[in-house]
Amino acid sequence: MKHSFRLYRHYIAINIRSAMQYKSSFWLTMFGQLLSTVSTLFGVIFMFQRFPVVKGFTLNDVILCCGIVQMQFSLSEMWARGFDRFAVIIRKGEYDRVLLRPRNEILQVFGSQFELSRIGRLIQGALMLAYGIIRIKIHWDVLKVLTLFNMILGGTALFTGLCIIRAALCFFTLEGLEFMNIFTDGAREHGKYPLNIYGDKFLLFCTVAIPYALVQYYPLIYILGQRTEWWLAFLPLLVLLYLIPCIALFRFGVRHYQSSGS
């Protein structure tokens, strides 16, 4: 375990060093993400100028929510990028090399890529979160701080799990599954609003089918004080269980792996 951790740290160091060889590309990627977040944010601000309260949420609540989702998403994109571009790894036959090494293959895929440029989006998310915290009068206590932490942990795990599922499916299809972007990019884009805005049926779907609501809506209403049940604070941790079937699917996929590269 200790050895794996050291290996992973080494992988990250290499990735960061190689990214830093292309500084302008690094800054431009960050710049592009900054602009896209800014235009989303302006869209939200203009909508709330017209409609100050929607389903019990104000502009500041939505900014807080949006910030948290951005952080969850960018953290997962940063460290699970290897799974994100897994189709390329498969197609080029790079996975053969992974299998030959006497180390855990999942750790190797995690280590194969580390997108430092996502740090821009992470900082934007943190700024939005900070703005929300300052502007909304929340009675903070230990449990609420813990809730916030759980949300970010659980959300990162959820997005990572989705990336692993997508990667696992590549074993069978050999090509990237663009439609899976709906579940990742789609969740980031539409997760800016608390999920009950999309209606009760959709909220139910996001509770039982793909547990977005566990890392967004339920803990959020606990932090905002709309509900006071203590267990809402721990719902995001349930998502960690959801990683088990994701990894199992990946393991199942590995057994079906047929090398396609040259």
């Binding site: 302008s24 590309s25 431009l28 710049f31 592009g32 602009l35 896209s36 235009s39 989303t40 302006f42 869209g43 203009f46 909508m47 100028q49 017209r50 409609f51 309260v53 929607v54 389903k55 599954l177 663009e178 439609f179 972007n181 709906i182 789609g186 884009e189 539409h190 609003y193 805005i197 999309y198 209606g199 959709f202």
Partner: protein
């Protein structure tokens, strides 16, 4: 003109090959459409009086936007042209006895038409079946449909003529990524891709409706449902045509001098 038509045809045939990509695109557009309409519905319920469009007009706007996304997105560049500019292949392009502007315009037109053709029909078909007021309504009259189609074409040409300016600027720079990302995202926001123009605050909206960005998707998608009509519509169409002329002339000038000014790279 014949040679530009063959560039057009070639690129069109190439674009029509990407059917699997189109399928994924369609799935995304369905999902996006539903999510946006659910969200707007929540805003609508919170205060129907503050809603600046009829709800069914907004639903039509969103479905048409999703169906014709590839015509109007400011993010779709012809990657062949971009890589040509950055690796020096531009010199071959300049050696051809054709107008760079017309050739690239034809290629971009074909690329967008092929991508939109593969996607739009199923999206519209399903959107029409979605119950009122969430689905796509029929156009108000045949006259509206006709005007919609005409302004759709104008909007497409305007979008491409805007991108042509970016290609033109790119030929003079070592790296154009920054300016491309910047202009594309600003234009995207101003054109009503993130939220339709009627949802902007009134003062901002007044200015935005005069800008070229308003002529891209905003005009056709609002004429379809009758949200844009009367004198405002006439003004919008005139502006569309004027901006199209301005952009085409500016683009021509920018590329005509490319032979003298282009920064050729690679080796």
């Amino acid at each position: 003109m014949k040679k530009y038509f063959s560039f057009f045809k070639l690129r069109l045939q190439m674009g029509m090959q990407y059917r699997v990509a189109a399928l994924a695109g369609m799935a995304t557009q369905f999902f996006w459409g539903f999510m946006l309409i659910f969200a707007y519905h929540a805003f609508y319920e919170s205060n129907p009086d503050a809603f600046p469009m009829e709800f069914s007009a907004l639903a039509s706007y969103i479905w048409l936007q999703q169906a014709f996304l590839m015509l109007f997105t400011t993010w779709r560049f012809d990657n062949d042209i971009l890589s040509m500019i950055s690796d020096g292949g531009l010199s071959y392009e300049l050696a051809r006895p054709v107008s760079l502007y017309r050739m690239w315009f034809a290629k971009n037109l074909a690329m967008r038409l092929s991508e939109a053709t593969l996607r739009f029909a199923p999206v519209l078909l399903v959107a029409i079946l979605v119950p009122k007021p969430y689905g796509l309504s029929l156009p108000k009259s045949p006259w509206h449909l006709l005007l919609f189609l005409v302004t759709l074409v104008l909007g497409l040409l305007l979008t491409i003529s805007f991108l042509m300016l970016i290609y033109g600027l790119s030929t003079r720079m070592l790296s154009s990524t920054g300016i491309r990302v910047f202009l594309s995202s600003v234009m995207e926001f101003l054109s009503g891709q993130i939220i339709p123009l009627p949802f902007f605050p009134d003062k901002v909206r007044f200015v935005l409706e005069l800008l070229p960005s308003a002529g891209m998707q905003n005009v056709p998608l609002r004429i379809y449902s009758g949200d844009l009509s009367g004198a405002a519509m006439v003004r919008a169409i005139v502006l569309q045509i004027v901006w199209l002329f301005v952009f085409v002339i500016a683009g021509e000038l920018l590329l005509r001098n490319a032979e003298k000014r282009a920064v050729l790279q690679g080796g």
